[in-house]
Each structure stands twice: as C-alpha cells, then as structure tokens.
C-alpha cells in the first residue's frame, strides 16, 4: 500500500479513529495488526521476514540484557543478531550482485563458478527495518537502552507502519518509549501532522512523479543527450529523489504525529547545504547517523593512528557502505564512494576557497559554495540513476565530452506545460524551504504565519496538488531499498 493511493486514504483514517477510540491497552494490538496489514498489501509472504527479524532481535535483546557483564556471551548474542539480520539482507538483496561479480572474476582467471543466482523478489523496505532492528540490538549491547520485554511493543517498533518501508530509521530510545506512552488526541498534533502530510503529497504528486515522466526515459537510454542536456536531467533526478524521499518522510512523520508519535527528522533542507558535510547532515539524516554511530566511529577508532589517511579511509569506507545500502549495483557503490571523496576532500582547504574567503562577501561565498555542492551532488546522483557501470560511463562521457552542446531541453519534447509546472513548483518548494530557516519541518514554519497566510498557503498547496498532481499511484523511489 503506497501513501498516495485510495487504499491508504481509507486505511489511515480508520486506523486513527480506531487508535483514539479503543482503550489504551489495546492500542498496540491495533497498530501492530494495521502495520502487518499495511506491509502484507505488497506481498503476503514477506511479513514472515519481518516476523523472523523481530523474533531474532527480541531474543537477542533479552539474552544480552540477561548476560550483562559477561561480555563474550553478550558479544555472541550480538553476532547472532548481526549474522541473521545481515544474512537475510544479504540473501535477498546482495547475493546475486556478489555472485555475479565473483563469476566474472573467476571467469577472468579461467575458473568455472557454479553457484546459481537466486530468483527472489526484493522485499519492500528490507534495508530500513533491518537497520532499525540492528540499531536496537546494538543499543542494548552498548547499554544505552534496556531490552524490551513486551513482544508486542517490540514487534510494533520493528514494523510501525508510517515508517516501515522507507524510514526514518528510528532508534529504540526515540520510538519505543513513545509507542508505550498513552497519547491523546490533541489539536496541535493533528494539525501539524496534516500539514506535513499535505506538503509531502504536494512534493510527491506535483514534482517527483512529474519529473519521473521525463527523467526516467533519459536514464533508461542516455545516448543522444550531451552536455547540459544530460546535466539537466541529472539535476532533475536529484530534485526528484529529494522530493520523492523527503515527501515520504514528511508523510510518515505527519501520520505518526497525528497518532501522537514524534519520528526523527530525516531531511533538513539539504538543497541549501553549503558543504558536503552539511549536505549529509541534512540528507537522509537517520541513515547517516546510523552509519556514523555504528560504522564510522568504530572504524575511525581503529584506524585513527594512520592520521589523515585513516580518517580519509574511514570516511570513504562509510560512505561506500551508504552507497551499497542503497542498492546492489556498482553505480550505487560509486555514488557512496564519490560522496565519501567529496566529504573527505573538505578536510583540506583548497587554494580557490582561500581566495574566495579573502576577496568575496561571506554571503556570496556561501551562495557559490551552495551551487557547487548542488552541482557536484547532482553528478554523483547520476550513479544512482544509471545503476550499471557501462551506462554510468556513457552518461559521464555524454556530460563531459561535449559540454558546449546547445541546451535544447529535448527530454521535454516541447511540452511547455510540464516545464512551467515543474519550474514554478520547484521554485515554490525552494522559496518555502528558504523561508523555513531554522525549522526543519514545514509545520513549524506554517505555525509562525498569520492566519490569512496559513489559509492562503493551504489553499494554494491543496489546489495545486489536486489540479496539477499525477495520480498514477507511482511507488516511492526509496521502496526499492
């Protein structure tokens, strides 16, 4: 079930109504049943994977708690959880990728590789809930969180439907206590939630899905697109991924907020980042934090004695894992790798940066840095859209081999209407996000507007969403991860 479907429009109000009408002690049952139903709408069998993950981490959490102080036993249980969860993820998501690459490698040295590929469909959101359950076990292991004894609440933590298939990836310290808490219907929670959902739907239906109509064919066959004519689709792809994914996060956060739960912020206006580091602090925040806390920090503590090289290695390695998390393809790994290089490169102050700092106004420097970061991220997002290495090299070749090719906007095929709608709606998002300033969520910004400003904004967003949205129930791009 996708958020932008009639089914969800029926499902969600029913769940919310039931949630507030039934006694508190039954609420977890309702939410758990709703969450499993939500997930089973994709493929019934895959609910068993969630159940398996839940069982493994529930047992592991309790055993780690029971053996607190006996480090080898605790470590064994942590390894048990890591192996089973990552094993599941590996089997469904990465097995064929590694198998295929090993086959190529062995064939190159004339060794026959016999292992057949698996014919498995990637379960929706497996990377998200696997990381969420892992985060629980690790936090319990580290002693930051006590093991959850109630299997129902724990199962709900793993499968909580608003963020089940595309995040935000929650930590037990944030989500579990809130699930246990008795929330009552409050005006502020409900209105804030609705504002977030409306904004999310606007970004998804008007911008992300519309860009997809034009950008997907370009990335499916990039031959014939040169210079700016390839760079513009790359930029649009970046905007599409942002609007699609941040839309999902907004809707998820909004839906949870209506039920009194505050999920973590996942995007904090990344398009206004003026450095690569700040970009990754604003983009998919919960994943970046996960990787920083559980991969980067342990890694850097081991390679710190290498000095700058160790730091560089840890950053690039962590970002490559972020890339691999996005998908089992070399394009994804390169996406992470390039971003790692960009982030690591910021340890050095380049000569032109010193020159800009000396001769230009700080605001101009910030603006130029922002443009640079945006363009560079767009060129890495190309890896994301290309997937395979041959296609990726063709795209880069097309961008850089003929940079002065006149801009024809050929992908729009003369569709002035869509170009105008996109231009205006992207401008609207940019203006609103610029105006948000220190508010990562739009609800905070809206609440500061005078009443007529709020109403004008609601009417504008809703009217634009209804009249210009694409209603083809397109799934969210991050579901594939």
């Amino acid at each position: 079930m996708v958020f932008n479907s009639l089914e969800f429009l029926l499902f969600f109000p029913l769940v919310v109504a039931g949630y507030y009408l039934i006694p508190f002690r039954f609420r977890w049952m309702l939410l758990l049943a709703a969450s499993y139903y939500f997930y089973m709408c994709w493929k019934l069998e895959y609910v068993f994977l969630i159940l398996f993950s839940t069982l493994v981490d529930y047992v592991a959490g309790i055993m780690i708690e029971k053996n607190r102080g006996r480090r080898p036993v605790m470590t064994l249980w942590l390894i048990f959880s890591l192996v089973l969860n990552l094993g599941l993820l590996f089997t469904f998501k990465y097995f064929n990728f590694f198998n295929e690459n090993l086959r190529i490698l062995f064939n190159a040295v004339n060794i026959v590789w016999h292992v057949p590929s698996l014919n498995l469909l990637l379960p929706v959101g497996i990377s998200f809930y696997t990381f969420q359950t892992l985060s629980y076990t690790i936090e319990v292991y580290r002693g930051n969180y006590r093991a959850e004894k109630h299997p129902g609440y724990f199962a709900l933590y793993v499968s909580y439907f608003p963020q089940l298939v595309a995040g935000p990836i929650e930590r037990p310290g944030n989500l579990l206590p809130q699930l246990r808490q008795q929330h009552s219907w409050t005006y502020d929670n409900v209105t804030d939630g609705l504002k977030l959902m409306a904004w999310g739907f606007f970004k998804k239906l008007v911008i992300a899905d519309r860009i997809a109509v034009y950008v997907d064919p370009v990335f499916a066959d990039p031959s014939g697109y040169y210079g700016l004519n390839m760079l513009i689709p790359a930029m649009l792809l970046h905007i599409r991924v942002y609007c699609d994914f941040s839309a999902y996060s907004d809707i998820a956060i909004g839906a949870a907020r209506i039920m009194g739960v505050q999920l973590s912020v996942n995007f904090d206006r990344p398009m206004f980042a003026t450095s690569f580091r700040s970009f990754w602090r604003k983009w998919h925040i919960t994943l970046t934090r996960f990787v920083m806390d559980y991969i980067f920090k342990p890694l850097i503590s081991r390679v710190n004695h290498w000095g700058t090289a160790g730091r560089f290695f840890a950053i690039v390695m962590s970002f490559s894992i972020i890339g691999l998390w996005h998908g089992a393809a070399w394009g994804m790994v390169l996406f992470g790798f390039f971003n790692g290089l960009l982030v690591a490169s910021e340890s050095v102050k380049w000569p032109w940066q010193r020159w800009m700092d000396r001769f230009l106004h700080p605001r101009i420097v910030n603006f130029l840095n922002g443009v640079f970061v945006f363009v560079m991220i767009c060129t890495t997002v190309v890896c994301f859209g290309a997937g395979s290495l041959p296609k990726l090299s063709l795209i880069y070749h097309n961008i850089f081999s003929a940079p002065l090719t006149p801009l024809t906007m050929q992908m729009f095929n003369g569709d002035l209407y869509s170009m105008m709608v996109l231009l205006l709606s992207i401008a609207l998002v940019a203006i609103v996000e610029f105006a948000q300033k220190d508010q990562p969520l739009i609800s905070g910004w809206i609440n500061r507007l005078p009443w007529y400003g709020r109403w004008l904004f609601y009417l504008m967003i809703i009217t634009l969403m209804f009249n210009f949205g694409l209603y083809s129930n397109k799934a969210y791009i991050y579901f594939q991860f």
Binding site: W185, Y187, V213, L459, I462, N467, G469
Partner: protein
C-alpha cells in the same frame, strides 16, 4: 472544544477548495464530451456535417464496429430518407451514453430524428477503466446519485454492486477534487492510455459516417484466438434462453427504468424517436438485469436482439469476432436485424405519433 474547531476548519477548507475547483472548471471549460477520446474524434467529424444526418447510433464498441450506417440506410424505406451516423465508441457505456444523448440533443440537436442507443445494465465497472478520465468527466452529483441508487436497486451480485459503487465513488471524488485536471487538459497523464489511441480521426474520416469496420487483419488475429474455444458463446445463448423462459421474471431496476423513461420523454420533446437496442451478446451476469429492463420498456422503443431462438445466426461462431463482437459477416447480419427491428418499431412509433397528433 478544539475538535469542533478542527472539524469546522476542515469543512470550511474543503468547501473553499471545491469552490476554487469549480471556478477552475468553469474557466478552463473544455468541450462537453472532452474525456472520451473516441467520442471527441467522432464529434469533430460529426458536428460540421450534422445537418446531413438524421439518425444516430450511440453505444459501445459493439455499436462502433458492428452497426454499419451505410448498410442500415440502404435497408430503410426510401421515403423515410434515413441517413445515419455511428457515434459508438469503445467502452462507452450507460450512464455515460445517457448523458451523451441528453447533452447532444440539447446542445447540438441538428436534424436528428432517431437515436438508436445500446441498452446495457449499469452495474459493471471494469478495472481497466478505473482512474480514467472517461469514467469521471461526466460524473456530476446527479449522475453519481443515480449510479449509487441504481446499484442499491440492482439484482446483480452484491460484490459487483459494491465494487461498482466504490469505483464510482472514487471517480466522483477524482472529478470533484479536480484530480490531475490540468494534466487531462494537456494530455500528460498516462492513466488513460488503456482506452485511448487508435488514431481514430484518420481511420473514421475515410468512411465519413463514424463507422470503423473490423479489418481483415484484425478478424484474422482475433478470430484465430476465439475459434480455439467457442463454448462461451453457447453459455451466453443458454443464459439468455433460460432467462427468457422464466415464469416469474425479475422486476426491472426501478431507478434505471426511470432514467430510461426520462430519456425517452426528453427525446420525444425534441421530436426524436429514441430506440434502445439490446445487443445479442451479453455477459452471463448481465442477462437477468438487462432482460428485465426490456420487459418494461415500451415496445416501439426497443429492438431486442437478445433471443437465441429468434436470432440464431447472431450466436453462430462463424459470425463472431469474439464473445462480444461480430466479424464482417456478422456485422452485416446484426445491421440487417437491427434495421428490421427499427423498421418495425419506427413504423409503430410513426402510427402512434400520427394517432396522438390527431
């Protein structure tokens, strides 16, 4: 206290949005038949020459492909001077066709004297048509209410009626909220792909009377598939036979019946003879509901071809393209039977009209 405030604000917001949407629809108002591409093309052909035609065929693909105006006209008495135009279109079903007839005779009456309108039940909503413009462009609150009431009084299986009610509600919401309205206007939305295409204008223009005959290639391609198993044709015929032999047949759907009577009356006011044509090949599930309507319709407003005993040739596999459509040979047979039926009912109608005028 704040719950009430929230509900009031949401209602006020909804009303404002609906008003804005209404304003947008009025400002960017396309032609009244915009939403059904086939009808759009056909109307472009028809309107400039409408005064040359006095008889219209309206209905789905079974009318579009299988009722030949040229042959039909040739079978009519010369003194009637019948000149017919085929306004049938793939998937054009009631009540869209009822609304089409109503709008046509009030907005562009031309010199129309007769309309032959395909009779169908209103209880089936194909999954293919879900979320398509053609299922919502005509769905005003009045037609929506009609659809829901018709489902309530229908004899069709409950699951079909619930499904149709839900899908119709979805279409009604899509229309009321203007979902993707500008995309429809600028033809961006890929949702309607399944029912568009065909480059009808080019194809139909050649015949100049709205008819798109089944091509030899299509007959060969579709027929080959159909001839592998023609048993369903027998099932359809048997369903009709057993329904016709019932001693206590079901009563017609009163809501649907009222709409049909209203349509007959409205046409009569405009001096038009409206004749309902019951196509011989219905899905088994539709038989009871549709035949019940024929029992209540006035005789001189009905051509009932759905009787395997009276029209056995219409149920022969050799005349069929598939279960619902006829091949070129079958088209001639159907047109011939429709013409005979029309001759009979129109003669009666003219006599009644003369009698009434006296």
């Amino acid at each position: 206290m704040r719950h009430r405030e929230l509900i009031l604000k949401m209602c006020a917001g909804l009303i404002l949005v609906l008003l804005i949407n209404f304003g947008i629809r009025r400002t960017f108002d396309p032609s009244w038949y915009f939403g059904n591409e086939t009808l759009g093309h056909k109307m472009q052909l028809y309107l400039p020459v409408q005064d040359s035609f006095n008889t219209l065929f309206v209905g789905s693909s079974t009318i579009f492909y299988n009722l030949d105006p040229l042959y039909f006209d040739s079978l009519m008495p010369r003194e009637w001077n019948i000149r017919s135009f085929n306004l049938g279109g793939g998937g054009s079903l009631p009540p869209e066709t009822y609304r089409f007839v109503k709008e046509l005779i009030t907005r562009n009456p031309g010199k129309v004297k007769n309309i032959i309108l395909e009779l169908r039940d209103v209880g089936i909503f194909s999954e293919n048509h879900r979320n398509t413009l053609r299922k919502r462009y005509w769905l005003t609150p009045a037609w929506y209410t009609f659809m829901l009431r018709a489902q309530w009084h229908s004899e069709l299986p409950a699951d079909l009626r619930i499904r149709t009610s839900l899908f119709t509600t979805e279409s009604f919401l899509e229309r009321s909220l203007n979902l993707g309205y500008f995309n429809d206007l600028y033809a961006l939305d890929p949702m309607d792909d399944k029912v568009s295409g065909d480059r009808l204008q080019d194809i139909v223009r050649a015949r100049r009377n709205g008819m798109l005959p089944v091509s030899a290639e299509r007959e060969h391609e579709r027929g080959a598939l159909f001839y592998q198993d023609t048993s369903r044709l027998l099932l359809i015929a048997n369903a009709c036979k057993s329904e016709l032999s019932l001693e206590n047949p079901p009563r017609p759907n009163p809501i649907h019946m009222k709409a049909l009577s209203g349509l007959i009356e409205e046409c009569r006011k405009h001096g038009i003879h409206l004749v309902f044509l019951l196509h011989p090949k219905m899905e088994k599930v539709q038989v009871s509901e549709t035949l019940a309507l024929t029992r209540a319709l006035p005789e001189n407003h009905l051509i009932n071809l759905s009787d395997p005993d009276s029209f056995p040739e219409l149920y022969l596999a050799e005349n069929s393209l598939n279960y619902n459509h006829f091949n070129r040979k079958g088209t001639r047979v159907l047109t011939e039977q429709a013409a005979k039926g029309f001759y009979k009912v129109h003669t009666a109608y003219l006599n009644t009209a003369v009698f009434t005028n006296r």
